[in-house]
Subunit: 197 residues, 2 copies
DNA sequence: GTCTATAGCGGGATAGAC
DNA sequence: GTCTATCCCGCTATAGAC
């Protein structure tokens, strides 16, 4: 159960960055939140702050990539599945005090034009989400082109609604996005599938 | 034609912040980009960096609020209008080297939990966009609830797709969002209306 | 109202004892 | 592998000459 120092540093960094972005988090903040002293941060991550951010984003990206399939798994109607994804996000965000935004978009928006390494890492995560989501929907019988557009739009819709929700202090944008996106997929029945992965 | 010093400071700040966010822009950067020395920034904006950001966001917010109606004005089919909004955004972004993201979301995502005054300003801008967009669609015959959801989803979809587009260095997410959102509104005919405002 | 110089602070990063 | 002390730089903001 005892997580390694390395792991707790990454967890703390991801948690802080999803709230305050990249520049808004100081190495000292990560040290304090993780319980490790500054020296340990540089011991475990020679590349300093950028490296910590890269690994923290990659971890968070992998974790978040599982969420959409997990929610959709419980549904056979695609419209209901889409609505459930946005409602689940709204519930999670409300439960965590309107703070539950993934760190990937937060950091990506901020550094896309300044820290090339981080842009690239975030880009790979988005790519992975799109590829993974597309494969998931294809495995459940959706046409590939449509699966890709849907996945891209859902991810973009979630990220945009997260920003609005935090700023407006209301999860209504998430629910509205669900209400708008879901109806046209109602009646599209998802195939049962072999366990993927 | 000669803009005031005040105005050029705000323009420079908005331009920089839409690319680098709030923390990523230094007062010196704004001074250099606007041509005004540091002292002038504090002369015109007693509230320092936060005040400059607030006014820059408010200006940009007002300007961006006109864009969606301007694009939709040219259409009578709501589905075509929605597609046109996303395609226009994609074209603009491509034309400007994938950098044309509005500063409101950039800054909002970063400071929503840390600089309350900026969160509030950004929140007012989102509110204004939603209210204005809803009124516009209602004036063209759309049901109020649907108009509000559509406006919210379009704004969120644009902001999320902007982040993805910059990060992936491709405008494809914007076009995908349009392809997903537009179809269900195809066939909904917008009413001609008296000039609004 | 314009501009320079600088104060004062907090940032990332490092060295080196333990 | 842990932790402290410290360096150096760049940031916001101010003072005050012009």
């Amino acid at each position: 159960m005892a997580r390694s120092t390395r792991e707790s540093i990454l967890t703390a960094a991801a948690e802080l960055m999803r709230r305050r972005g990249y520049a808004g988090v100081a190495m000292k903040d990560i040290a304090d939140a993780s319980g490790a002293p500054i020296g340990s941060l540089y011991h475990h991550f020679r590349g300093g702050k950028v490296q910590i951010a890269r690994e923290a984003l990659a971890n968070a990206g992998a974790a978040y990539g599982l969420l959409i399939p997990a929610v959709v798994d419980a549904h056979t109607d695609l419209g209901e599945a889409v609505q459930a994804v946005f409602d689940q996000a709204a519930d999670d965000m409300a439960a965590s005090g309107l703070v539950n935004m993934c760190p990937v978009a937060s950091v990506a928006a901020e550094v896309a034009d300044t820290v090339e390494e981080l842009r690239q890492t975030a880009g790979e995560i988005f790519d992975g989400w799109i590829t993974g989501g597309t494969a998931y929907f294809v495995a459940r019988g959706v046409d590939e082109g449509q699966a890709r557009d849907l996945t891209t739009a859902v991810i973009g819709g979630l990220e945009g609604a997260f920003v609005m929700a935090r700023t407006l202090r209301s999860v209504e944008p998430l629910r509205a996005a669900g209400r708008v996106l879901a109806p046209q997929y109602r009646g599209t029945i998802l195939a049962v599938r072999e366990r993927v992965r």
